[in-house]
Amino acid sequence: MSRDDLKATFFAECEDLLEQLSEGSQDMIAGTAGEETVHAIFRAVHSIKGAAGAFGLENLVTFAHCFETVLDRVRSGDLVPDTDALHTILRSGDMLADLVELAQTESEEIPEAMPAILDKLNELAGTTAAGDADDAAPQEAQAEEEFFGFQPLVLDPIGDEDGTGDPAESRFRIRLSASSDLFRNGHDPVLLFSELAALGQVETRCDLSALPAAASFDPEHCYLNWDLTVTGQVTEAAIRDVFMFLEDLCEIEEIDGPDTADSVAEIETVAAPTDLDAPVASATMPVAEPVAPAVAEPRAPFEQALAATNAPSPAPMEPPSADRAKSTAKAAASVPQTTLRVDPERVDRLINTVGELIINQAVIAQKLIETGLASNSDIMGDLDDYQYLARELQEGVMAIRAQPVKPLFQRMQRIVREAADGLGKEVVLATEGEATEIDKTLVERLAEPLTHMIRNAVDHGIESPEKRTAAGKPALGTIRLSAAHRSGDVLIEIADDGAGLNRKRILEIAVSKGLVPPDAKLSEGEIDNLLFMAGFSTAEKVTNLSGRGVGMDVVKTAITSLGGKVSISSRPGEGTQFSISLPLTLAVMDGMVIHAAGQTLVAPLSSVLETIRPRAQDVVPFGRQGRLLSIRGTYVPIVHLGHLLGFTADPSISADNILILIRSEHSGQVALAVDDISDQRQVVVKSLEGNYGAIEGISAATILGDGRIALIIDTDAILTLAGDLGRDVSFKEETQHAETAAMG
């Protein structure tokens, strides 16, 4: 694994950690945070710091360190964060995310806001130790100084050796056995020793007894064991912090302390036991240079090992055995959820293959039926099992791609914070339905439009605190972001409790930009929808947040390209609501297989209301060629599907036709006249646009049991087309009489 790969893994992990961080800080703000939450945040920051150090990302290390110090004080109960402090913690999380992002682009830039946040953090850290000087100018701090200049994990400030009122000194013995996991997980003993050195007097003995002959030397394995003695005014907890992620690999024992009896630590040694009686090539080192001689020699293999091994990860991957139960209990508390990191391309490949399997199953089924086998024969039973398993498999694979919208919503929290801060507004984002799962592709591709809409809501929707108070509303504006499943779709709503749309102003702008003629009479809904027109931006001045030349039209385009729809509703003085409805997944859908004019088509089941074989008296003529279906007291236009799509020139509807009543979100209902309905099944959606292009009235294609392609109709577009056609037909001469053969 190359260094770049390692780095990529690091950033991927950072993403997870930052997510935990942001989740945790939200909980803290909400006041629902337990002790474990603070620990989790602390661990996240600590992990980022550790790994960043390994890559020499100094800005990140410096910042994470200050942040960590504050969190540590919170964790130990030293600091009870007030609102202000919580705000700083939140902003620090954001800043950390920014720094990670900057590091990712290999930029050395320091974000503008960083010094201010650092100052605040230092204030909160209330450091009394000598490290303060460095804290004040953290950017200059070198990675190397970092480990000496700062005292990262000190629970109680370390006074001078001869300080007054100090508790008695303690001595701890630590035995560290480095298995190959140590490096695989991105740890470096040198750094650990440095951290220890900051706690007190450290004596280090390196046990080289396990070192094999050169011939059998495995460069990826570490054969070294260390015996460390820490003397000083340290607590066991402080030492444990240093070895936080290495608990399985080391043994800490207090050998000479104020209250020895109680504090002897029992940590299981799970790594290969060290033979203490073996000849020890050792060096006792002065604290100032804690690692030099003993580690100098094996350094090369270390680096080799580091380069050759896996990425830094927050916890040892495989606590090897014996006392596993105990260590997993601990791990369970610290790692809330085990996840598998998989290249999405592999999942896609799997999904494709499973899709093919489903098609193949259908092909076999069809062929078997054609052989005239009795439906109660054994093989048909087996085939049913096959079908069942294939479906199971498909559902399972699809579930891999499904992701909760939670991370996406959390990102929006940050957007709201930043936007509100920038505009001097007070806004809170309330989220609902975070556990709603949607396809990963959708999650990713929703981020941008959603960001834009949220920013818009803060910028244009929510009024300034003064205006709000004057209008009798609470100064704190609320944006509600919710997700829910609704009839096969995912519905995402963004609602603010702001001033609502200023329709007069919107219309003025639209007129001034020539988007609508000055004398146009538009309904409220039509005016609202002007927002989605290209080149429309209501910001009176270009702010940093919105009005950057991209408007809601970009949002609409993005949503539409995902197969979704966006709509807007607004009430003056009460707020504006945007609704996005999206398909659950882009890959499979339930469809009804129909035939029209010799072609096989699929109608999405989600938009089929019912199928009707109409009685003659239910079909009433309307205009020259038009027909209406009388159903339960209402009249619905009937459209000949084959004619509409151009497969036949004959639009006449015969008594044999079956009608399919479809509806859409906005355009009402229409009855499609088709020749036959043959099946209802799950179909694998295959895009047409990849190799061909968009076709009006057709959303995609699928492959049927016989291996042939059937087109999936786009019900909304069909409704629109039907509307156009209706106008055409009523004015056109009836030119076609004879039945015309279908195309192809």
Partner: protein, 155 residues
Amino acid sequence: MPKPQQWAEDEVLEFVTLKAGGQSFCIEITQIREIRRWSPVTALPQAEEAVLGVMNLRGAVIPIVDLAARLGLGECDASPRHVIMVVAVGDKTVGLLVDSVSEILTVSGEQICEAPAMGRGDVPNSILGLISVEDGMSRILSPSVLLPHGFKEVA
């Protein structure tokens, strides 16, 4: 006659020759994915005439273009004797219905002549160059002309 720019003089190139609309054409072999027999396609609504429909190529949906019709040489009445050449154009895949596929030509860049500018609208920029063969010449097809129009509007 000046040489077309895209091929170096000393480059060795392979082309697959084919017949469509009674004329000989060729396509660079690196663009050809596979050659298969004609099988019925699914018609597309609102498609131009040259686009016969779409076909299932191991799970991928690819459009089938009648090459002769596309080049303005009259429609081809598809039968099982006809051949579909599956061609990659950029990251798209398109099937071309042709009369037959003949042989593989191995030529060097210097053997390729530039196609004369005809200045006619019906076959715009579709021929990149000409290669002399025993019984006449073969026209090198430009990949872009092979794409259905519908696709280009979207892209």
